[in-house]
Point group: C2
Chain length 215, copies 2
């Protein structure tokens, strides 16, 4: 599921010539992602996305039938993004503690991908507003992510790596919540927050791992 577009070979050419329709779509999506991340969905305008794409507004709407459709397209580009890539890993994802370590690693990488961080921070919260076109996307996303973390905690528990009384569902919510919350704090004050270290701190604490240098 990494390629939502049906890229027809006869129209796809990556040389310096005129971009194919698929390439245009991809370019528009890339710019739309940045714009939604910077402005939020409602405050972003097709005109701005169009201008930055070197097209007119009508040109953009030739490739995506509506603004909401454009947002959907951006969210479907999730394979490059953030946590959601984990959903792409399918059955090959890391198990148990390794999965939780993967979350920390994701947080670390995200500190160098502000655009992605911003996109998810802004859109996930905006999605709770009434009638937001991404509401179902985020509801499903959180449900899926929670289930994955619950599963990983279960695997770790089977290996005896989790304190006996830990509620896996609460812990899963907590891990995802701390990652989300850190994004906003980090965007507002990057020097004051270490997303990876703090995520690791919480995961370690939940698992009963001794704090570094302490007891």
């Amino acid at each position: 599921m990494t390629r939502p577009e049906t890229s027809r070979p006869e129209t796809s050419r990556s040389d310096g010539g005129r971009p194919s329709a698929a390439e245009r779509r991809e370019e528009i999506l890339r710019i739309a992602m940045e714009t939604f991340a910077t402005r939020g969905y409602h405050n972003a305008s097709l005109a701005e996305i169009a201008e930055r794409s070197g097209l007119t507004q009508a040109g953009v709407l030739h490739h995506f039938r509506s603004k909401a459709g454009l947002l959907t397209g951006v969210l479907d580009l999730r394979d490059q993004s953030d946590l959601a890539q984990l959903a792409q890993l399918g059955e090959e994802r890391p198990r148990g503690l390794a999965f939780l370590a993967h979350l920390v690693e994701t947080a670390r990488r995200n500190a160098e991908r502000e655009g992605i961080v911003r996109l998810y921070a802004v859109l996930s919260a905006e999605s709770v507003t009434s009638g937001h076109p991404a509401q179902e996307y985020f509801r499903a996303r959180y449900a899926g992510l929670r289930a994955m973390v619950v599963e990983a905690i279960g695997e770790a528990a089977d290996a005896g790596e989790v304190p006996a009384g830990l509620d896996p569902r609460a812990a899963a919510s907590a891990v995802l919540a701390v990652m989300d919350g850190l994004r906003v704090q980090w965007l507002l004050a990057p020097e004051a927050v270490d997303m990876a270290a703090t995520t690791d701190l919480v995961i370690g604490a939940l698992l009963g791992r001794p704090v570094p240098g302490g007891g």
Copy 2:
């Protein structure tokens, strides 16, 4: 500290007659709060706020000079809200572990105040978008809250209630982050998330408190 306005006695009357200016302002702010919480700032319109207030749009702008001014007014109403009431407590706030317990209590109460939860979830994330009028407010808010939690952890540490190696600043970010992140998850799926219990779980884990029923 429940009355931010300087209520001038000669204009303030709470009988059934025509509302005073101060009462009008308060009513508009209440409705604006709900509207910003439901729609977000950018997607909320003065027309909707006005209609729900029983005024025209021009009527609303007589009391607040601009939409941004209205948002500022809403945020200044923070004494009824959420975490921010802690900032109001000033020197009388609970200390050490009691402060952290207060955060959990706040989360518990918030489960019955969806409007406040929604307002802060939506606006805090929206504030990271470019040029957002509440950006400075939230930057200062997080800085202040982090400092308060750091201080509380320090007090708890002095009482020997904190693991030796715990980084107070990371822990403070983590506690606030988990509370923020839980808000979004809870708004999207209230039955799947227990904000208070999960906040308590994280705080307890960071403090090295044994998990309930386990060890």
